[in-house]
C-alpha cells in the first residue's frame, strides 16, 4: 500500500475540540482501511493568507500532519469527507515525500557541442 501524507489545517479552536476533530479524522481514515503511522502537530500559526471556508474568514489555524498507508481509492473518499467537515479549513493528501538523499555528485558540465548537432538515430 502506498504511503500518503495528509497536510491538515484546522480551525483555531480550544484543545478538547481540536482533539475531537483529529480523533474523527483518524477514525475515518481507519474505517476506509488505512494504517496511521504518525500524527504530528506543527503548531498553531497565523495563516499565510486569509482563507474563506464554511462561511468563515480564517486568519489562524492549527497545522497537523498525518502519515498513513492506505489503498489508492482512499484519496478521493477522504477528500470528500474532509471537505464536509466544518472544522477543517484546508486538507491535502500527497504521496509521502520519502527523503531522497541521493548522493548528489554535483553539477555535471553540459556538453554543448553534442547538443548543437542533431543525432542521427
Amino acid at each position: 500500500m502506498p504511503r500518503y501524507e495528509l497536510a491538515l489545517i484546522l480551525k483555531a479552536m480550544q484543545r478538547p475540540e481540536v482533539a475531537a476533530t483529529l480523533k474523527r479524522t483518524v477514525e475515518a481514515l481507519m474505517e476506509r482501511g488505512a494504517v496511521v503511522r504518525n500524527l504530528e502537530n506543527l503548531g498553531e500559526r497565523s495563516l499565510p493568507y486569509r482563507i474563506y471556508k464554511h462561511n468563515h474568514d480564517h486568519k489562524k489555524g492549527g497545522y497537523f500532519l498525518v502519515d498513513f498507508d492506505g489503498p489508492p481509492a482512499i484519496v478521493s473518499t477522504m477528500m470528500d469527507h474532509l471537505g464536509r467537515d466544518i472544522d477543517v479549513i484546508r486538507s491535502t493528501i500527497l504521496k509521502h515525500p520519502v527523503s531522497k538523499t541521493v548522493a548528489c555528485s554535483g553539477i555535471i558540465p553540459v556538453n554543448y557541442e553534442d547538443k548543437l548537432y542533431t543525432k542521427k538515430k
Binding site: A7, L47, P48, I51, L65, L94, C104, G106, I107
Partner: protein, 158 residues
Amino acid sequence: MRTLLRRRRQQLPDGCREGSVGRVMAVTRGWGRLQQILAAGEGSSAVLWRRGYSSQQEQVSCNVDLPVEMENPYKEPPKRCVLCGINVDYKNVQLLSQFISPYTGRIYGRHITGLCAKKQKEISKAIKRAHVIGFMPVAYKDPIFLNDPKICDIRHPE
C-alpha cells in the same frame, strides 16, 4: 637503385627502424616505391600517405619518454550548487523563502539563485505546493524570514 637501399638499411641499428621507410620513399618513386613499402612493412599500417612516419608500435617500443595515458590527476571535483545533497521539502518554509523576492514573493530564476537544474525545479515545485497547501504566503515573504542569510545574487534598487 636496389643496391643503394640495401646499404642504407644495414647502417641502421637493430630493432629500431625509425625513418627507414621515409628514406625508402625519398629514394624511390612511383610504383617502385609502393613495392618497397609493401615489402618492407611488417608493423607499418597505412603508410602510403604517411611521409616520413614509421609505425606507432615501433615508436612506443623505442622511446620510453613518451607520455603515458592516464586520467587527468589535476581534475577538479565537479562544481556543486548550494543545495547539493540537501533535501527540499514543501514544509521547510524558511528554506523556500530564501529563493523568493521579499517584495513580490516571486521565485527567482536560475541566473539569480545559482542552483543546478534539478534543484531549481525541486525548489520551484515545492514553493508552488506550499502556496496551495497553505504553508507559505504567495505575494510577499514572511517578515520573520526577512533577516535570513542571503543566498541569491540580487541587488534590489533602493
